[in-house]
């Protein structure tokens, strides 16, 4: 699916930023700064935090909708640069456009602190395309760097872009990481056209109507939305308004997404013939499913084929941002993007008598707003109608839809999540399932922690000199298995031992890995297993007759990893979002050296917060130390008011994981 305009261009903007040094000197534009920029530059500003890099003095969009469906957008901005860092984010202006869009002009200006003005225009601009290993898109950027983009100066830009959109929908994102003094959106509609607005993360604003069919919204003094690690996606925290236009001409109304049903109808029309099969597809399905009678196993054969054989490669030109390539074409090339893969799999499933539906989603939680039907989502998956004959007790990705029945949600683009499991980015979110009679939104659940398991069992023996020898067995499924598989599969087989080395190096000062193996690495529907053995000389610290043994010998430390989110001077403003609910268990047995007795054992610990639980226990029996630990995340969104409780919880976890057992030599 076509992505949000504001997000996918991050990489391109970085590319453009790097380009400016290559620019050959050029003649200046003759004109000086416009009055609106001068006026913005003369505003008195309140004091800002010393970290503030820039202030958006004016961010104005004038949208003129023409009766033929074309839209002209004039966008102008004025920014006062406060700190050198501002050059990174506000040192230039890059305007995206594709084959359906035309930029009439792009101009930039700088007003220096001494009042001197510099202007640049189209002939100074650079156009940059989009190069990627896995995507071809016809989108380009027209870009200009602001001259003398130095602290104290005011920079400004203005451009006009003409667009013939496939849908009449616009998102006005009026907040920014920098404070905004004035944000203005002006809409000019042809007679007979209508519009709606929906407001998010900001109170609804009523427009002024200075002229017939002209509407103006203006917001003053918006605070900056500072980026914090592991915060929810931008659209879930920053203020924005969705604006939809409804044409006078009923024939053009298909471009307006008034409801989720409308979007489904529009997309059904766009993809009507996409899923038609071909002799080649039929032959492949027959080949893959021959000898299999169980319908679920047949489905698995097809989804496995899709995951392992159809590469991700997107070719998006014009409407190709929305419309998939026909299934026979995807099959012939053996590559496609998300909607292509969904299309081919749907055609193949149809061959075995199983129906499926496109499901549009966004892989960022919080982007899809149930009350605001919108086509701007960034991913396409399949909702597979589960036949009555297939039980769903082992399928975690089944959603009961009142209209379509049991739907098994599957992402054919995800190469490692098996059929029946819902990847984390689809959980706790919404998906738009689209059928011939329209679309409707369904809620995708947060899977319980038990579906994302890591069970680590280990047997160690400790020598009197503190050396530790042992073997570890890890059993993983769900999210942990997917992440671990990705790590190993993206590592050359000859270098996979280094992954184990790196992992152990996180906890052990001194060790030698003596063996390591993986089980079910390619069997995505099976639990992934890791087995490794190592020797760690001097693991237990000796002091006189004492040995200090930390029983949590190995294991990821989610507690410490998450604690870094609290290591900033400023308190967090936004919630923390975990990827998924998960449970991780360690069960370690450590045979103690002969002649040593336990001098002191840590007490059992159990701590909880509303989003996670932790418990550990250490005991000794028959010369063997038994250590058990369970860490469980049960909720994925921690609101700001609960952050302190989560930090306290994590600190207790971290402290407990560092506790040592004291052993004393009983015999001289």
């Amino acid at each position: 699916m076509r992505s949000l305009r504001t997000t996918r261009f991050v990489a391109l903007l970085a590319f453009v930023a790097a380009l400016h040094v290559c620019l050959a000197p050029r003649a200046p534009a003759a004109d000086s700064a416009p009055d609106w920029l001068r006026a913005a530059a003369q505003q008195k500003l309140p004091g800002y935090d010393k970290d503030t890099v820039a202030v958006i003095l004016l961010d104005e969009i004038q949208t003129t909708v023409h009766d033929n469906g074309e839209i002209d957008t004039l966008h102008r901005g004025a920014i006062r640069l406060l700190r050198p860092e501002a050059r990174e984010e506000y040192g230039g202006k890059a305007v995206p456009f594709d084959k359906d869009q035309k930029i009439s002009y792009l101009k930039v200006w700088t007003i220096e602190s001494n009042g001197h003005e510099i202007a640049l225009g189209d002939k100074d601009a650079v156009e940059v395309g989009y190069l990627s290993d896995i995507e071809y898109r016809d989108v380009k950027l027209k870009a200009l760097q602001f001259p003398e983009a130095n602290p104290g100066n005011v920079v400004g830009y203005e451009y006009v872009r003409r667009d013939r959109p496939y849908v009449f929908e616009d998102n006005w994102e009026f907040q920014d990481p920098a404070p905004v003094v004035t944000a203005r959106f002006e809409l000019q509609l042809p007679p007979g056209w209508e519009f709606t607005t929906s407001w998010f993360n900001y109170p609804e604003q009523k427009p002024q109507t200075p002229a017939p069919n002209q509407y103006v919204w203006e917001i003053k003094n918006l605070p900056g939305v500072e980026i914090e690690p592991d915060m929810p996606t931008w659209r879930a925290v920053a203020g924005w308004a969705g604006v939809k236009y409804f044409p006078r001409d009923p024939a053009m109304r298909a471009k307006s997404s008034g409801s989720w049903r409308d979007i489904g109808l529009w997309y059904d029309g766009l993809t009507q013939s996409s899923r038609a099969s071909s002799p080649g597809i039929q032959q492949k399905v027959t080949e893959l499913t021959s000898g299999i009678s169980d319908p679920l196993q047949k489905m698995r054969a097809l989804t496995d084929y899709m995951q392992k054989n159809i590469r991700y490669m997107a070719v998006e030109i014009g409407i190709g941002g929305f419309q998939p390539h026909p299934a026979p074409e995807v099959f012939a090339h053996q590559f496609g993007d998300c909607k292509d893969k969904a299309t081919l799999l749907s055609a193949m499933l149809h061959e075995i008598g199983i129906e499926s539906y496109y499901m549009a989603i966004d892989d960022q939680r919080g982007v899809i707003q149930p009350d605001y039907p919108s086509i701007y989502m960034n991913h396409m998956i399949l909702a597979i109608r589960l036949p009555d004959s297939i039980p769903d007790s082992d399928l975690y990705a089944v959603v009961n839809d009142p209209k379509l029945g049991r739907l098994l949600i599957f992402d054919p683009t995800n190469e490692r999540t098996p059929l029946g499991y819902l990847p984390w980015y689809l959980q706790h979110s919404f998906g738009l399932v689209m059928a011939a009679d329209g679309g409707h939104l369904i809620s995708l659940p947060l899977l319980p922690s038990a579906t994302n398991r890591l069970l680590r069992t280990a047997h160690f023996s400790l020598t009197p000199t503190g050396d530790l020898i042992g073997q570890v067995h890890e059993l993983e499924f769900g999210g942990p298995a997917e992440q671990e598989r990705a790590l190993f599969l993206e590592t050359q087989p000859g270098k996979r031992a280094e992954v184990f080395d790196h992992f152990l190096g996180n906890f052990l000062n001194n060790f030698t890995l003596t063996s390591a193996s993986l089980g079910n690495l390619d069997q995505y529907d099976q639990s992934l297993t890791l087995d490794y053995k190592f020797i760690s000389p001097g693991y237990a610290n000796a002091a006189g007759d004492l040995l200090f043994l930390r029983p949590r010998v190995v294991g990821d430390d989610k507690g410490t990893g998450t604690l870094h989110l609290f290591a900033e001077h400023k308190p967090r403003k936004y919630p923390i979002q975990f990827e998924e609910a998960t449970r991780q268990d360690d069960v370690f047995d450590i045979t103690l050296p002969v002649g040593y007795v336990v001098d002191g054992l840590p007490k059992p610990v159990q701590v909880d917060c509303d989003y996670a639980t932790y418990k550990s226990e250490t005991r000794v029996a028959d010369g063997v130390l038994h250590y058990k630990r369970t860490f469980e995340i049960t909720g994925v969104m921690v609101p700001t008011e609960d952050l302190a409780a989560v930090r306290d919880f994590l600190q207790q976890v971290v402290a407990d994981q560092r506790v040592s057992v004291v052993l004393r030599r009983a015999t001289p």
């Binding site: 860092e85 001197h116 290591a567 506790v659």
Partner: protein
């Protein structure tokens, strides 16, 4: 400071022309595929590879450059071993629209079962960049059904525009392993065809060399060329890459086939003439000198004063790129002599060094310019007779009884300290007689020292907190000043906080209270702040345990892999000197501290010791790394060294709560 020299006559283009010469077949007549290549599961000479080039053929034709343009044809056959290797199936061919065009592309995929899928998809054209008058494009295509075990192959040709004679090269090294490659170069044969290219070979196998053919072309066959493997602490990439260059040289310059003495004397005299012309303003220099030095100053004192004066000149080369409009507004005129530099107060790198040399000579010292190959990008091979290697420069002065190698144009480097990439390299020192090969001094570990002092208190709950002072000396300080020259105080504070937090456990909070000496290049950059590390100690009954070293090693990330492909290349030697004082809560007493340890391999060494008194302990640590290069064979030894250092750093101190112990 860096500067660019070039003898290239035009812009490199990629193009086609053929007929009697060798060429890549355009038709769909691919070379036969041996069954053993289909069955191949791994690269036996580089096990675990994602993919390898089985066969590559490159034909470069410059024979009709003046008529139809230069050309290049390429045929590549790749074996894919892993999922990661399937990325080779997406191909990008970059070219400049005004100078060349990709005229055809064909390709196919041979599946593991031997069946063949022809590429019949789109060849898409992407604008990489367009600026006025220039358009850089890329042809991209994706071969079908690429999966582990398959073989992919493709051919393409590029045709250039006429009337250009260009320098050319065969890029022999590729990102992945090449089993066999054939190269052909057909030189220019049109008007002025007495122009013959000079051939330069780099990093080729001993048995590989371009062979002249009867028709005037050159051919070469190579086998088993390893891919360029990226690793931490890599030497500069260019000297590692196997390549052949065909260079059409300035007819007025000495031939690259002449003796090296003749070659470098020619350039030495030429550059000396440039220097002499620029500094030929004795009166202006004498006047300037008289304001800077006193007659009674010792030679080095004079030199230091001159250095300081010259470093006050505004260096235009370290400023941001400015458009013509901005330069025009500032009325920056080009300098033609040291007098202009002195009067205007701005200059480029070379002009700053020229001014320094002029003033040094006016003070009675021998002084001249040295052109070098900076270690960051290349190695200087004098016998290669390639002036393009020398892209950097510095000044040499003989004052008193001592030789000085100085780069006053390197604004953040104080007197006596060269930027690391100008040390331990070689180049050409110019004089009236010509040029002589010289080597610049080796850097010292004491010229890049990190000094960390901490005064910390351990809390009952295991947190530690207190003050930390850090000095970044010499090379370290200069590089930090240079890297952060555009930052304001807030930006610098963030830089140091992030840098220091990189040595500390996750969740540590470090807040800067002072940054000193920022504008005084002669002094270390000094940073002070307050530190809190939550839950740093571990508990065991009534005891507290904590590692000797609070600051965590950063080197282990670079030495994590057990195996190494490239040599280990440190930009500069360095030292770390730590002095940490810890106070434990009242009632605690030392139960045991690890004994002092000293690991000394000569080139690298580290000693750490702890001295306890009552409930306090002082830890001192000194790590020294003196070498620039360690071979692959030495890698395990150095890796083991840092492993041992880490073990010693993490040896635990044990403190007992005396009161609890007696209850």
């Amino acid at each position: 400071m860096n500067r660019t020299r070039t003898t290239v006559y035009g812009v490199v283009v990629l193009i086609v022309a053929f007929a009697a010469f060798s060429r890549v077949s355009r038709a769909d007549d691919w070379l036969p595929i041996p069954p053993e290549d289909i069955a191949l599961k791994d690269n036996p000479k580089q096990p675990g590879a994602d993919a390898m080039i089985l066969y590559r053929q490159v034909v470069v034709n410059a024979s009709k450059a003046s008529v139809s343009g230069d050309s290049q044809e390429e045929y590549v056959r790749i074996k894919v071993f892993t999922q990661e290797g399937t990325k080779e199936g997406h191909v990008e061919i970059a070219f400049k629209k005004q100078l060349a065009n990709v005229t055809y592309v064909i390709g196919r995929t041979i599946r593991p079962d031997g069946s063949i899928v022809k590429f019949d998809g789109q060849v898409l054209e992407t604008t990489v960049e367009r600026i006025t008058g220039s358009k850089f494009l890329a042809k991209t295509f994706t071969l079908p059904d690429v999966q582990p075990g398959c073989i992919i192959e493709y051919k393409y040709s590029m045709q250039g525009q006429p009337n250009r004679v260009l320098d050319w090269g065969w890029g022999v090294s590729q990102p992945i392993y090449t089993r066999e490659a054939h190269f052909t170069y057909i030189p220019y044969a049109g008007y002025g065809s007495d122009l013959r290219p000079i051939i330069r070979r780099h990093m080729l196998p001993v048995d590989a060399a371009p062979q002249t053919q009867a028709n005037g072309s050159y051919v070469m066959v190579v086998h088993d060329i390893p891919g360029v493997v990226e690793e931490p602490l890599m030497p500069p990439a260019r000297p590692l890459e196997a390549r052949v260059e065909f260079v059409y040289q300035d007819p007025d310059a000495p031939s690259a086939t002449d003796s090296s003495d003749k070659y470098w004397n020619h350039y030495g005299k030429k550059w000396d003439d440039e220097l002499e012309r620029f500094i030929d303003k004795k009166k202006a220099l004498d006047q300037a000198l008289s304001k800077v030095v006193s007659p009674g100053d010792a030679p080095e004192v004079k030199l230091r004063k001159i250095y300081a004066r010259v470093q006050q000149i505004r260096n235009l080369d370290v400023e941001d790129y400015k458009m013509a409009k901005e330069n025009k507004d500032e009325n920056l005129k080009p300098n033609s002599s040291v007098e202009d530099v002195l009067n205007r107060g701005y200059a480029h790198n070379t002009q700053i060094n020229y001014l320094f040399i002029g003033l040094a000579r006016a003070a009675g010292f021998d002084a001249t310019e040295i052109y070098i190959a900076p270690r960051s990008t290349d190695l200087f091979i004098p016998t290669a007779n390639n002036v393009d290697q020398l892209t950097d420069e510095l000044a040499w002065v003989h004052a008193g009884t001592q030789d000085y190698y100085l780069d006053p144009a390197a604004h953040y480097f104080p007197f006596g300290l060269l930027p690391w990439y100008e040390t331990a390299t070689s180049g050409i020192r110019v004089d009236k007689r010509g040029g002589a090969v010289v080597k610049t001094p080796n850097p010292l570990s004491s010229d890049a020292t990190l000094i960390r002092k901490a005064d910390l208190e351990v809390k009952e709950n295991g947190d530690i907190s207190g003050t930390v002072q850090v000095d970044f000396t010499g090379q370290r300080g200069a590089l930090i000043r240079e890297e952060n020259r555009k930052e304001d105080e807030t930006g610098r504070t963030k830089f140091f906080e992030d840098a220091i937090k990189g040595w500390l456990p996750a969740a540590s909070v470090f807040e800067i209270s002072k940054i000193a000496n920022w504008d005084n290049n002669d002094q270390p950059v000094h940073v002070e702040g307050t530190l809190t590390i939550p839950s740093f100690t571990t508990t065991a009954q009534q005891r507290m345990l904590m590692p000797l070293e609070v600051f965590q090693m950063t080197q282990m990330q670079e030495f994590a892999p057990e195996k190494r492909v490239n040599v280990v290349y440190f930009p500069f030697p360095y030292e770390e000197i730590d002095d940490v004082k810890l106070r434990f809560p009242a009632g605690y007493k030392v139960e045991g501290v690890p004994p002092a340890r000293n690991v000394n391999l000569g080139a690298v060494s580290c000693e750490i010791s702890a001295t306890a008194q009552g409930n306090s302990v002082e830890i001192k640590r000194h790590l020294t790394e003196k070498n620039l290069i360690y071979t692959k064979d030495e890698y395990p030894v150095v890796r083991r060294f840092f492993g041992t250092v880490k073990t010693n750093d993490n040896a635990q101190m044990v403190f007992e709560n005396a009161q609890s112990a007696h209850n």
